[in-house]
């Protein structure tokens, strides 16, 4: 219900002509392939659905993908490099989402490398966008080199994406170390992606608690492994738009936590095996709900 109130608030702001002061959040991980870009697309879409004005910046120059996940690849005219090199105005380079006018993308250039944009330039772009948007989500490239430094430059908050795998956790630890050394980063939160409750239950995979304890960081989201992510990526449609998806629900919860709501974490431990369903069915018949 609260969600319905949000759009009016942001509209009211617009009407009054107040300048916003958006939050710049960098989404990073260190390791590649843990779901940074997917996380970015889904949190961005969920925030926009909640009525926030959101812009996503893809800083993965040369390896852009955020446009694909949003299904916007055919609409890109100008990229961040065009903005920096003065070929267009910042506003001209923003691509509006097909469904949600609250959502914009500033795409990365596919034909250039990380040196095409500097830390200062990214900082300036973020400052400029802060005036018009509630949230600026910066999609960070993998690694800890210049691309990471650039992406972090303009941000004051960070979401560190990891999975319950050793290599991803180790890289996340490294990233956290680097973020802690940055004065501009006021807070960072951990998002654990691709959680597989069945493997955790059989003690074959580290649990969310293990990862949180090892990294000693605050948690902002637990996203279950979901095959729907593959189809949603293929369709260019973020999974938060799929009302039935558990991962989509988890991402929506993350967005609500970012806004400041206190949302409990999804219970992924629930047994979804056939046997458990049968048991549940019969216990339901017997009238004793477990």
């Amino acid at each position: 219900m609260q969600l319905c109130v949000e759009p009016n608030q942001s509209q009211a702001k617009k009407i009054k002509g107040e300048t916003m002061s958006g939050r710049v959040i960098v989404i990073t991980s260190g390791k590649g392939g843990v779901g940074k870009t997917t996380t970015n697309a889904n949190i961005g879409t969920a925030l926009a659905r909640a009525g926030k004005k959101v812009v996503m910046i893809d800083t993965d120059l040369g390896l852009r993908n955020l446009d694909l996940l949003l299904g916007l690849e055919n609409r890109i005219v100008y990229t961040i490099v065009d903005v920096v090199e003065g070929r267009c105005k910042l506003k001209q380079a923003l691509v509006k989402d097909k469904k949600n006018p609250n959502l914009c993308l500033l795409a990365a250039a596919q034909t250039r490398d990380k040196s095409a944009v500097t830390e200062e330039q990214l900082k300036d772009i973020c400052e400029e966008l802060k005036k018009d948007f509630d949230f600026i989500l910066v999609d960070c490239p993998a690694g800890i080199e210049q691309g990471f430094q650039n992406a972090v430059a303009g941000a004051s908050e960070a979401i560190v994406v990891t999975t319950p795998e050793m290599s991803a956790v180790r890289d996340a630890d490294r990233i956290i170390g680097l973020l802690e050394a940055k004065e501009e980063i006021k807070s960072y939160k951990l998002l654990i992606n691709r959680v597989r409750p069945n493997l955790i239950k059989s003690n074959d995979m580290m649990s969310v608690e293990d990862v949180v304890e090892i990294l000693s960081a605050d948690l902002i989201g637990i996203i279950p492994e979901d095959t729907g992510i593959i189809t949603s990526t293929n369709k260019g449609e973020p999974i938060v738009n799929d009302e039935k998806s558990l991962a989509g629900q988890a991402y929506k919860n993350v967005a609500r936590r970012i806004i400041g709501e206190d949302v409990p974490f999804l219970n992924l431990e629930e047994d979804t095996s056939v046997l458990a369903k049968v048991k549940k069915f019969f216990s339901g018949l017997m009238g004793k709900e477990k």
């Binding site: 050793m166 956790v169 180790r170 630890d173 955790i200 003690n203 074959d204 649990s207 293990d210 090892i214």
Partner: protein, 161 residues
């Protein structure tokens, strides 16, 4: 016929053994390995520094014991929630008091000579403080080692008697 029974017996026994043993699961292995590797990542000790620390420890300890220097192990490990420096030294023989004193004298002479050299040449302050620090740690180590060493010398004396 007998073979079938023994096979059957073995498989049943094997089943119970499996459940009894319950090898460390993949999750715990991952957690433990990660903790150790992260501690190594988090400490900024370079291999060179680690080597230096190892050499200094050998120098210090060889004053009191004869050891197998090549078999000395120095590792970071997890001890409860804290990082621990695990030092394993194969001791060949504990030195007796007379030997230790003799070595101390020799060392003192060396140090005096070194100090004379230092006073002659101009040395930046940094090195002085570093030396002080080393001396401090030496003293601490001495204290912790003395009791055990005294025990050992006592033991040897008893044997002599």
């Amino acid at each position: 016929m007998k073979d079938i029974f023994t096979d059957f017996y073995n498989t049943i026994l094997g089943f119970f053994r499996q459940t009894e043993k319950k090898e460390e699961n993949a999750k715990d292995v991952a957690c433990n390995r990660l903790r150790v590797v992260l501690m190594q990542d988090r400490t900024n000790l370079t291999p060179e520094l680690l080597q230096r620390m190892r050499q200094e420890l050998i120098d210090l300890l060889s004053k009191y014991v004869e050891m197998d220097k090549d078999a000395l192990e120095l590792n970071f490990d997890q001890e409860g929630g804290q990082m621990a420096l695990m030092l394993s030294i194969p001791v060949l023989r504990a030195k007796d008091e007379a030997e230790i004193e003799a070595e101390e004298e020799a060392q003192a002479d060396e140090e005096e000579a070194a100090e004379d050299n230092e006073s002659e040449s101009d040395i930046p302050e940094d090195e002085d403080t570093e030396e002080d620090f080393e001396n401090d740690t030496d003293e601490q180590e001495d204290e912790s080692l003395e009791p055990s060493d005294a025990d050992k010398t006592e033991q040897t004396k008893e044997i002599e008697k």
